[in-house]
Amino acid sequence: MENLLKYIIPRIFQCMIVIFVGVTIVFIVPRLTPMDPVQSIISRVTALVDTDPRAVEKLVETLTDLYGLRGSLLEQYLRFWKHLLSGDLGPSLTMFPASVVDIIKISLPWTIGLMTISTIIAWLLGIILGTLAGYFSNKRWSQILGTVVMCIYPIPYYIIALILVLLFAYLLPIFPLMGGASIGLKPSFSWSFITSLLKHGFLPAISLVIGTIGWIFMSQRALISRLVASDFIVFAETASLPRKKILSYLIRNSMLPQITDLALSLGGIFSGAIITEQVFSYPGIGVVLYSAILQGDFNLMMGISIFSIIGIATAALVLDLIYPLLDPRIRYK
């Protein structure tokens, strides 16, 4: 028990430091850029109507206050942490007066649903195909599969998404062109909503699977082809153990790095899939983040980034804690 605590506590502590440094970087980076959100709002307002310069001055002051941009960088930073620790991410600068937390609450479920499912499907498929291709590396189908994946892997993700849209939403309109569900349907557990959800999610999900499976397949195949030459597999072959058994040994022994990849990509979901959501007009967090960046909406940008940082850091922490359970060779030391 004491050993366990000695293993866990430093890791939790380290995770917190990592989150702290990460959030600090995300705080500083936008402030180093020449973007000025207050000025951009002012110029949008004053472009339409003639305003009294004194009123503009007042407006600048109020906005600076509201967005937490008053004072030196250090003062802003301290105030930012005070708000953050009380769970307040402030108002969105562009969708005022909606708060950042509310905006994230609306769009995050879409992204989580889409990306969790497609990440897990891609991971499972990649592992299974990669293992088979690595084990039967002399078979013809394995070589053909390898070549096909090698050719698909470098295609820019954007092109994959566009081709899918073009084929299945434009030329053969089987799937809807945009959105997360049909307009007018309220989220509920009704049959019509769920079918509409699946129909709208299908193309984005497939594009994500195609886009990520290549790397998983190739790394799994490489891992397996190294394992196949190792003593215990050679021995298992010589002892003519059943194929199924050998394959399960191979998979178990290659799992560690693959689970790391899976956990980190699940943790990375919180910043959304910007390109996918953009191409398919999916109402997820990626689109929100993208427009926040272009409009200089610091609060929203930081809010989403903080979610993402916490997501990945937590995933890494959970990994560290469950490694010893997954791999008997690693023990709490």
Binding site: V29, M35, P156, F270, I275, Y290, I293, M301
Partner: protein, 288 residues
């Protein structure tokens, strides 16, 4: 040189990869002999399909696509190579420092790397390139990409060093009187080289992919032809819908071929330099 000849003779992957990369480099060099300037527009009739005069046709902007592609390949290669060069120099330096020195240096560097790993990279990249759009050239772009891509590789180099330090031959070398620098240069670096090569390729792919992502979002310098900006302009004029496949196709195919070429080269050189027994002695190269 003899190793090169042997590889050419024995490994088909090396032969194909080498052939592809030489072709790509020749294409990139041909840009110096282009009859058109890279930023020249509306000098040719629009939307011509491939012909003898214009081997890959012309674009809706009145450019010759073949010559444009040579510029695009050259520029994309430069950006990718610069980015991978900067990020890997940082990664190797930090990974080696943290692996060899250990102690507090190691703790600080590892925490810093961990903090960079948890950052959402694409959003930060979009933010920075949006903010500095106006003065984004090859060098700044490469620096931006490198800034976000040193952390993972540095951790992997560190873990490689840690496992190399535990190897028997390290102890043997130290007991037979090699100095630390000698151990590093003569005993450890040869083990790292195949690993570095594979890592270079993956970094290069990431950099090119990010350049394309940024260009497609319209956030890079759109007047410089790169593979990404070519795709951007082709899309802007809806090449896929209009059926001008000779505009959108070449940059995508050039990219795929380049990547495959580099991939084949790295796999075959990695195999050549690093016989399986040696890898197994250091326990696989994905030890995290």
């Amino acid at each position: 040189m003899s190793a090169f000849k042997e590889l050419l003779k024995t490994d088909r992957r090396f032969l194909i990869g080498f052939f592809i990369i030489v072709t790509v480099i020749i294409l990139a060099f041909m840009s110096f002999f282009s009859p058109y300037k890279p930023d020249e527009r509306h000098v040719l009739p629009k939307d011509q399909s491939p012909s003898l005069q214009h081997p890959l046709g012309t674009s809706s902007l009145g450019q010759d696509i073949f010559w444009l592609l040579t510029f695009a390949i050259k520029n994309s290669l430069i950006i990718g190579l610069l980015a991978v060069f900067f990020s890997r120099i940082g990664a190797i330096a930090i990974g080696l420092l943290s692996g060899y020195i250990g102690g507090n240096t190691d703790k600080v560097l590892t925490t810093l790397a961990d903090s960079f790993i948890v950052l959402p990279r694409l959003p930060i990249l979009i933010l920075l390139s949006f903010a500095f759009r106006s003065n984004l050239n090859f060098l700044t772009m490469a620096f931006l990409l490198a800034f976000l891509d040193w952390a993972w590789p540095s951790k992997r180099y560190r873990s490689q060093i840690l496992s190399l330090k535990e190897m028997e031959f390290t102890t043997t070398a130290i007991f037979s009187g090699r100095r630390t620098l000698g151990v590093i240069l003569k005993e450890h670096i040869p083990f790292l080289i195949p690993y570095i090569m594979a890592d270079f390729i993956s970094g290069f792919l990431w950099a090119i992919g990010m350049e394309i992502t940024l260009s497609v979002l319209g956030l890079s310098n759109l007047d410089t032809p790169t593979i990404g900006t070519m795709i951007y302009w082709a899309n802007y004029y809806q090449a896929m819908l209009k059926g001008t496949w000779w505009w959108i196709g070449p940059p995508v195919i050039a990219l795929i071929i380049t990547v495959i070429g580099f991939y084949l080269l790295s796999v075959s050189i990695g195999n050549f330099l690093d016989p399986r027994t040696r890898i197994q002695r250091i326990g696989g190269w994905r030890t995290e």
